[in-house]
């Protein structure tokens, strides 16, 4: 038993993942419902005011800073952004996403534009925590694994445990917001860029 990273990936039991067939309404609020959809949802408390967290997230270009798989997000206009996500074998997957709901300081929901290789949507909510602990941030990601060979490769990227990815991304978001940086054990900037565990 030596490799922490591998261990954690093997028998993971995501906290709030409902697999095939579960009604999306249970965790996904007003998100699309399709039979093959996968939902992952997780809450984290961040010791910062919710307006600040909302503002950072609402600028989608920021998300690549802490989302490990996301190479870059270009903001095209007030509701449209273009996502470039790293896929296996040095490839990338790209799609446009549209903001579907937006309540200043409390909620952002987005959805991939029609025709995306992996139809997906996300929703992030910001609720003031009790006792002056900051903000409870709840993220819900819903995606629809595609069929076919190309779909399989693409899905592999998402199926690298979306729950693991989501919780790690949320931890990085928390670190960035609370400390101004993302914790790393890297010995130098090159190692940090390679995102070693």
């Amino acid at each position: 038993m030596t490799d922490g990273a591998t261990n954690s990936g093997q028998d993971d039991a995501p906290l709030a993942t409902s697999k095939h067939g579960d009604p999306a309404g249970e965790t996904g609020g007003r998100m699309r419902e399709t039979a093959g959809d996968q939902i992952t949802s997780r809450a984290v408390t961040i010791n910062r005011p919710r307006t600040e967290l909302y503002a950072y997230w609402r600028d989608f270009a920021n998300l690549a800073t802490f989302m490990e798989n996301v190479e870059r997000i270009d903001v095209k206009d007030a509701t449209t952004s273009h996502w470039v996500v790293a896929a296996p074998a040095g490839k990338t997957v790209e799609w446009d996403a549209l903001v579907t709901e937006d309540e200043a300081g409390s909620l952002i929901a987005w959805e991939s534009a029609p025709g995306a290789d992996v139809p997906n949507s996300g929703r992030i909510e910001f609720v003031e925590a009790q006792g002056g602990r900051g903000t409870v941030v709840t993220a819900t990601i819903l995606y629809d694994p595609p069929a076919g060979v190309v779909g399989k490769i693409v899905a592999k990227l998402f199926q690298r445990e979306p729950a693991i990815q989501a919780r790690r991304d949320l931890r990085r978001f928390k670190q960035l917001m609370e400390t101004g940086e993302i914790s790393t054990n890297a010995m130098n900037p090159a190692q940090a860029a390679a995102k070693e565990v």
Partner: protein, 399 residues
């Protein structure tokens, strides 16, 4: 640079590796002048702590000179600092409550998974102590990258010897927190299991906090002798049955507070310990918990049990009934080092606490492998080894 790396059970080597660089804004790079081997390192050396990888640089007790700073560090080049073994951000909820070893952010996001699964929530990062606690390179090296250098390291005034302040990094605050967790009241008798560095600092701290008597327990005569130097009475568990001796010494009451500073590698041919040992060797269990069992059973009714000793897994034959029926309080945890630094530095400067008595050996970092072997095999004579990266091999000295 040269650094002492873990390569497997009883296999540590001094390797040549890349120098660390500034990665994050709040980082500093420290050129290590002194670094110690800890009882906790022996748990790694013996292979009891999971998620180690070959090549991991060890060491969590170190100090040195600031040689580089990121733009968010408050340190200045040339300052001498002691670095806490707990890596804490200073800005999360737990840091705000001074619970630094419970920091939400000190452990990198990907490394938090295992601890979250094992313990429910992940703990802070630690230097040189497995990937579960961050996978950070440790301080038994010439240089260390220190994250969150604006909240961790304490600056040491000029002219104060390394030897005097080095133990602020871990074992002194750990012994202090152990005594604090024992909620000592004037007139109390405090029993301390284990006269290693942690136990010996717990003995000193317990007296400073008003204990009337401290009873220290071990089987190494030289370590027991050190405890007596600070005014403790002692029990050699190989010569006397600990429980019987404690009952006799406390007039049948039992100690008011019991401190377990032994940990998951308890020695001794006690029935429960031997059973634990067999389970460990057959991978049915990982921790030998003899000393905490004994502490709970010996403790007086309504008393306090403090457990600085490290345990990692799930145990059995834990005397839950005694804990409950006698209404004991149990407090424990990795030390919130940052919380105690200013106060303990003062105590050292005012000579209220003696730290240098502990050091039995000073050796060059290059002899690190030999130092581990000695600390592991010769505990009677070797109470604490300080490694000096700059020290020439020929100058290796015994205190």
């Amino acid at each position: 640079m040269r650094a002492l790396a873990w390569h497997g059970r009883h296999d540590v080597r001094v390797d040549t590796v890349d120098d660390p660089e500034i990665v994050n804004r709040r980082d500093a790079i420290i050129k290590v002048t002194s670094t110690a081997i800890c009882g906790s390192d022996l748990h790694l050396y013996d292979g009891y702590i999971p998620t180690m990888k070959a090549g991991d640089i060890l060491g969590h007790e170190f100090m040195g000179e600031v040689v580089e700073v990121g733009p968010g560090s408050t340190l200045k080049k040339g300052q001498r600092v002691v670095v806490p073994f707990t890596i804490a951000c200073g800005s999360c909820y737990h840091c705000g409550k001074q619970q630094f070893s419970a920091c939400d952010n000190g452990n990198p996001a990907d490394n938090q998974d295992i601890a979250e699964k094992l313990y429910g929530q992940p703990m802070s990062g630690l230097f040189g102590y497995s990937h579960m606690t961050g996978g950070y390179a440790g301080g038994q090296a010439e240089y260390v990258r220190v994250p969150y250098s604006d909240v961790g390291p304490i600056v040491i005034p000029d002219g104060v010897d390394d030897d005097k302040v080095l133990f602020l990094s871990d074992i002194l605050p750990t012994g202090w927190q152990a005594a604090e967790n024992a909620d000592i009241e004037p007139g109390d008798t405090v029993a301390v299991w284990g006269c290693g560095p942690v136990g010996l600092f717990a003995v000193q701290s317990a007296f400073l906090m008003g204990a009337a008597r401290v009873i220290a327990i071990d089987h190494f005569p030289k370590r027991l002798e050190l405890a007596r130097r600070f005014g403790a009475e002692t029990i050699n568990f190989e010569e006397t049955a600990t429980y019987d001796a404690l009952m006799q010494m406390t007039g049948g009451i039992g100690p008011d507070a019991c401190i377990d500073s032994v940990g998951l590698e308890a020695h001794g041919l006690f029935v429960d310990n031997v059973v634990d040992q067999i389970k460990k060797s057959t991978f049915l269990g990982t921790d030998r918990i003899h000393s905490i069992r004994q502490a709970i059973v010996a403790c007086r009714k309504g008393g306090r049990v403090s457990m600085p000793a490290v345990y990692g897994g799930i145990v059995d034959k834990f005397p839950l009934g005694a804990l409950m029926e006698k209404g004991l309080t149990l407090k424990t945890g990795q030390t919130h080092v940052q919380r105690y630094l200013p106060g303990l530095l003062n105590a050292i400067m005012e000579e209220k606490i003696d730290t240098t008595f502990l050091i039995s050996h000073r050796m060059p970092l290059e002899q690190g492998a030999e130092a581990y072997r000695m600390f592991h095999d010769e505990q009677n004579d070797v109470t604490k080894i300080v490694l000096k990266p700059g020290m020439a091999s020929a100058a290796a000295a015994t205190a």
